[in-house]
Amino acid sequence: MTTNSLTTSRGAGRAGDKVFSGATLAAGCLILAVLFGVALFLVIQAIPALVAPSADIQGGHGFFAYIAPIVVGTLIAAVIALVIAAPIAVGVALFISHYAPRRLASGLGYVVDLLAAIPSVVYGAWGAAFLAPQISPAYGWLASNMGWLPIFQGPASATGKTILTAGIVLSVMVLPIITSLSREIFLQTPKLHEEAALALGATRWEMIKMAVLPFGRPGIVSAIMLGLGRALGETMAVALVLSSGVLTASLIQTGNQTIAAEIALNFPEASGLKVSTLIAAGLVLFIITLAVNMIARWIISRHKEFSGAN
């Protein structure tokens, strides 16, 4: 009888392999299960609001009429936050990674990371108690000088507690996320590519345009999308800063509302169908965030051939 010597193996090493692969599989499945569980909960709890007669929903015109303005309000606040934060964050990240002297760079990096450590309720309190009163004269100026633009139409809010203020506070909150992710990406730019650009006679800025930004583009998109996710879902800061109301085009009047703040402000006193309505609003927010992430992935994968990963 001959035995194949290759069939015998070290038992212990195999067991370790199995345990490890089992553990990673379980971790992967757990994420899916949690995501699915949350989605299922949201759908089941939201159904009563979705099928209820229009008159029973808050506002009296059905769920869609209720949710549409606050969806728009959420998007407005998030877009304001990103329009302000994204360029600043990318600029700060570039400064830290490619311009600043090394000691200043690490110090600045710490400070930016500290911004992320401030609780959102603190941001909210700061926005409501400090930023809003300080900024309201600027709104008055905008209303009288740029009032012909629908977004700056007067009369400006006297308290300054507007969607624009909320957006500015959100931008400060998403700034550290986008900055630290972008910085990490920029630091990973291969030296080879930077030197290739410099050797062609590129200035520092041209080198950044040629080598750093194209290499970092997928990372910047992901960072901005993560920031968008935070801006969309941020509750406390908006709830404290924004004096909410009906949907208005003007960013400097009182009005508008975001989904997260709407849920937070109304949930404690809600009961029955009202709870369902708020959970359905949460479901809508969930879908928006999911869509944002999928679009981000699609944008990244569209240029995979040129990503440098191959």
């Binding site: 030296k191 030197e195 290739a196 050797a199 062609l200 590129a202 290499f215 040129f306 440098g308």
Partner: protein, 259 residues
């Protein structure tokens, strides 16, 4: 379209560490000059001082003069960016920009400084540069594909095409074949032979046969020991360096009795 380089008493420092000491060398226009020597002897460091690329490393600085047809690269008010448009460089590992197509890679240097170039002129330049790098026939049907999809040897020739597209006076090559297989190496060596009709070429190589094959003049660098500065030991015609060197250290190195 080529200039000579004269180096006078050049010391290169990394911070307070003297990496290369007292180099004097005269590199003729339209010739191929090879730098050989053991690892760590400072030949790559010295090569980089010829287009101020050593300044990418924090703390690196030089003393002495590098004259490009009489103009000191380290004179007051000289912009390293302007130096590098005259003295191009090809690196050890092929480094085409991964996010750019083959065509855009060739045009990368030309489009710098906001220079506008018409599509027709760009097409002509792309073809001329790729032909100059012996790459045109292999890539002419896929100019819009990413440069990173090419083989290593093709990528390196693409980098050479990118370097010659800006019409430099001098091309520096830092071990351009060390990451390539023998066939690709041969293709690049053939190319170097053609390049010297128009450009001054300086090449660092670990491969002594390569130095013997491609260069007109050869410089041998050596280092006395760890922590000591690298020095230029001997600079002469390539045949002299390999057959009849005047220094014992050179003879030991080229005959393989060293390192």
């Amino acid at each position: 379209m080529s200039k000579r380089i004269d180096v006078k008493d050049l010391n290169v420092y990394y911070g307070s560490f003297l990496a290369v000491e007292g180099v004097n060398i005269n590199i003729e226009a339209k010739s191929v000059t090879a730098f050989i020597g053991p690892s760590g002897c400072g030949k790559s460091t010295f090569l980089r001082t010829l287009n101020r690329m050593h300044e990418v490393i924090p703390g690196a600085r030089v003393e002495g003069e590098v004259l490009l047809d009489g103009d000191n690269l380290y004179g007051p008010g000289v912009d390293p960016v302007a130096v590098r448009t005259q003295v191009g460089m090809v690196f050890q590992r092929p480094n085409p920009f991964p996010t750019m197509s083959i065509r855009d890679n060739v045009l990368a240097g030309v489009k710098l400084n906001n220079k506008r170039i018409s599509k027709g002129a760009a097409d002509t330049l792309v073809e001329k540069s790729l032909r100059g790098a012996n790459l045109w026939n292999e890539v002419k049907d896929r100019l819009d594909k990413p440069g990173s999809g090419l083989s290593g040897g093709q990528q390196q020739r693409l980098c050479i095409a990118r370097a010659i597209a800006v019409e430099p006076q001098v091309i520096l090559m830092d071990e351009p074949c060390s990451a390539l297989d023998p066939i690709s190496t041969l293709a690049v060596e053939d190319l170097i032979n053609e390049l010297k009709d128009e450009y001054t070429v300086v090449i660092v190589t670990h491969n002594m046969q390569q130095a013997a094959r491609v260069s007109d003049r050869t410089a041998f660098f050596n280092i006395a020991g760890t922590g000591k500065p690298g020095k230029l030991i001997e600079f002469a015609d390539t045949t002299t360096i390999f057959n009849n060197p005047s220094q014992k250290a050179t003879e030991d190195y080229v005959s393989g009795r060293f390192g």
